[in-house]
């Protein structure tokens, strides 16, 4: 407890101290006005007006501030120097090289600053040179909230393995549109591993699977530490999103006396016979899980072997 207080105090002091020594923001001048922008960039006008950023009713939007120049930077020099990509220090904000991604993201984060973005700097995506524009399209009509398929398709541009895993017979309801990547991950960065939007992977799983949260009288230790020890959340060829086939998955850890170390297999001469005839109930159907049903933990006084 004393150690926790120490860590918390150090963190709080550091944040405050560093905040106090920050350099002041400089005011920028040299705005040309949105009308000037439209003289050359008329093709962007329609999409800009249809976009939430143009809304002048919200004092936080570019529309209520400097219009185009709120994001692309003051444009008078750009106008004076005759225009052109990057001329006069104008920002293009399209998906660009790693070196330029920072200025793109900074332009967005002038306004989009909230808890979801607290760990963007140094996050897996930021450090690989991605910017907001790598995934978000600004000049477009707003997509109806809840349109989830476009979300996953964006992630699949790079995460090809996950796309394939979602086609497995055992999967979360992602391809059915009932979940999206962002229900478990925060792509903008997190304090936890694998961009999981929770204190730990298990706590994220428990937000939907509260029935296995426990804590139980009889815990199954690897379950307590990490659901991914046995499960593949993006999809599995094996039932129950399991990483392997029971009983062999279970036998990777359990080889004690009793029956856990037994080999459950047909003999060489039983090749074509049904497992229901030649093996017993520890091997066929759900194998170990036929009896050890409380594999996530048991609250039964006689549940030490997770049978009840």
């Amino acid at each position: 407890m004393r150690q926790n207080l120490f860590i918390t105090s150090v963190g709080a002091c550091l944040t405050l101290f560093l905040g106090l020594i920050v350099s002041p923001c400089r005011a920028d001048n040299g705005y040309a006005g949105t009308e000037s922008c439209l003289e050359c960039h008329e093709d962007k006008h329609g999409s800009y007006l249809a976009d939430v950023h143009s809304n002048q009713g919200d004092p936080r939007t570019p529309g209520a501030m400097h219009g185009c120049e709120s994001c692309h930077g003051p444009g008078q020099r750009h106008v004076d120097e005759g225009g052109g990509k990057g001329v006069g220090g104008i920002l293009s904000l399209s998906a660009q090289s790693p070196a330029l991604s920072e200025q793109t993201s900074n332009a967005c984060m002038k306004c989009h600053l909230n808890q979801r973005l607290a760990f963007w700097s140094g996050s897996a995506h930021e450090s690989r040179g991605l910017s907001c524009a790598s995934c978000h399209t600004i000049h477009t009509e707003k997509i109806a909230q809840g349109t989830r398929r476009s979300y996953t398709d964006t992630c699949f541009q790079c995460h090809k393995r996950v796309r394939a895993e979602l086609l497995r017979q055992s999967h979360h309801p992602i391809r059915e549109g009932k979940m999206k990547c962002g229900d478990c991950h925060n792509p903008h960065g997190t304090a936890s591993d694998k961009l999981v939007d929770a204190q730990s992977i298990n706590l994220k799983c428990f937000s939907c699977h509260a029935d296995v949260r426990g804590p139980f009288l009889w815990a199954h230790p690897p379950v307590v530490e990490d659901c991914l020890t046995c499960h593949s959340p993006h999809g599995s060829t094996h039932n129950g999103l399991l990483n392997g086939k029971a009983p062999y998955l279970c036998q990777r850890c359990h080889s004690n006396t009793g029956h856990a170390g037994d080999l459950y297999a047909r003999g060489g001469s039983q090749d074509n016979q049904s497992v229901y005839r030649v093996l017993n109930n520890r091997a066929f159907y759900r194998a170990c899980l036929n009896c050890h049903v409380a594999v996530h933990g048991s609250n039964h006084p006689s549940g030490k072997a997770l049978l009840r």
């Binding site: 709080a12 140094g122 029935d211 307590v224 080889s255 229901y276 049978l307």
Partner: protein, 752 residues
Amino acid sequence: MKRALPQPQLSFVIPMFSLVVWLLPALCSAEPSSSAPTESGPVTEFGGTLGLTLRTIDGENESAKYEEYRDVQEPISGEAFLSFERKENFLVEFEGRDIAEQDQFLGLFGNWYGKLKVNLTYDEIPHRYAYNAETLYRGSGSSRLQVDDAVQADLQATSFEDRATRLQSAFADAAKEDLETFREKAQADIHLVAFHPFTFRMEVGREDRNGTKPFAGALGLNNNAGMVELAQPVNYDTTEMKLLGEYAKRPFLLNFSYYLSRFRNQDDALTWDNPFRITDSTRGAGGADGPSKALTDLAPDNTYHSLSADGVAMDLPFRSQFSASASWGWMKQDDALVPYTTNTAITEGATVGSPFDAFDTGNLPDQHPNAQVETSNYNFTFTSKPVNPLRVKAQFKRYEYDNETDEILFPGYVRVDSIWVDKPVKNVPTSYKKTSAGGEVGIDVLKNARLNLGYTYEKKRRRNREVLRQDDHVLGGSFDVKALDWLDLRLSYHRTDRDINNYNADAPLDAYYEGNLPREEQLPSLRKYDEADMTRDRVQFLATVYPVESLAMSGSYTYGRDDFDDSSFGLLEDEHYIASLDADFAPSERFSVFAFYSRENYKNKQKASLVPFDVSSSIWRADNEDVIDTFGGGFKVLLVPRTLDLEVSYSYSKVDGEIALKNQATDPSDFGTVDETTYHVLDSKLNYRFLKNFVLTLGYAWEKFDYDDFNTEGFTNIPVDDTGVYNGALLMGTLPEDYDVNVFYTKLTYRF
């Protein structure tokens, strides 16, 4: 066949939605905008789309797998998107998807610009496990599953050799039922932004989950009694609430949040009849006696709270940023313990003496588990770009799971409701603490490439497990190039080296069992793979090229390998690779086409031993391999611009799985068919736009799913061995089933 699901518990939500949809614009319009009006005054816009779908289904669609998380069999469904906006004042949107289906989604979104955002959603998700599962039990969905007394009496009087025949006779009248759960989730998210940079948010959610899912109960540890498959009742309510307060204005971000999750199970326990006995009795390990009924504890009620604080200081010197977060969580579970058994014949034990009624909760050493866990999480991240092209990052993280559940010493326990086991045992709460510290240096090489190199050290400390101290060293880097307009390259490599200080195979058993009584032994040289010494390699490569503006092609390769070199038994190695190719081509506005292919290969090797340990004839190996091919493609063509277009997409996935087994003594045969599937999905639709605002869609979809596994070959509800004798299982038949379904649909959409 349309199946009836449990009645929605949150059905009040739907009429509430309808009411709010129509009232909210009126309520909002009563408040004049405080923002500056445009020259022509506030402009009001009302628009949206309404759609109606009619469909018919043909083919083999009796597999629950087809509708696992969806509802496709409703002949009529609707969709709606309505938007009402008073420009620069407020926006109200309603979205309804799959309306009138059992997977419908309704959402109402209100945004009073710059002041308040409100999101109300209602979502239904079915989860179907099996249709027409067969069972002897009555009372499905309740916490008491019963078999006819006459069947129990008959089977009790039947010799073991004749059991299968009698059981099959009784099973002729088995009930058929669908195992499925139905989840309804209602959420409200209120976000007050009027006091920017201070914002406040409240999210409240309630989920009801009802129905049944496959479950099982053991009646003995041998084939005489075996196990029965059951329908577990699911009557869960989960309430969630999150409160958040935030200050966000450069250079500071500070926020504090509180989260509550409260889970309640309406069924504390499940009591189910033993089909083979009508009277209670105790029995020895090999006997055919046992309880008349058994009791299984179900998911206990539990509560989780957490408090979190995040802080970010930006715009520090040298383009630096410091982020810190801290969270503390508390899990609590204190359901009343059920008795050791419901078997009234268990009345004595060597250590507890006689009389001792194991079915009396008064004989438990404690009535409640008082199970509780405290979690804490700290994260500090410092990033800086002191000079171009250098970037640095330093991070410290700590997560602790501290299980403070009471240790309860039980004088013994009842094995599968049949016999008292005279071995004092106590529960052993396991805890762990994970601390990591690391850094990363990034250099922008040339103008368009970035090289990152990083190292992280992570230590894990455990309580009451085999390995108490484990250290991971992770070294890796990435190289990202966007050197040319037509080329993106991404490459990363990470290597993890895990060291453990000592592996004590007996540690959990030492903790569980009191005294020096005989107990099971763990194979001493087995290493559980989550605690074993290991090296891990991960390579990822992604290349995207744009040879011409209208064409994008990408290829990716992922390789991973875990080597457990110090493990003589357990998982020895685990390896995988995934290769994929993608192409998108849009030569004109009227035509676009895409295609993709991927091959995945997952292999692992494990080794174990039956008793006696470490005797060569006892040792066996299992080599598992899954090979998965996935490909697909599609096109979209505008046949008549702005009038007629055609979209077609298709994907195919095939899984080949096998397990090769080796044992010197028994010469086992391999399993050549392990969870093998083929899956085809075709979707095609012709869209015809007419009368300016209408779109008529004619569609055809085809899905075919085949599942093959050694457990589906020769499946029977009542397995018998080679001699025709009962083989220890009474099954409902809940494994995935094949389907082959054609769907023809017509959809009329009106835009306004």
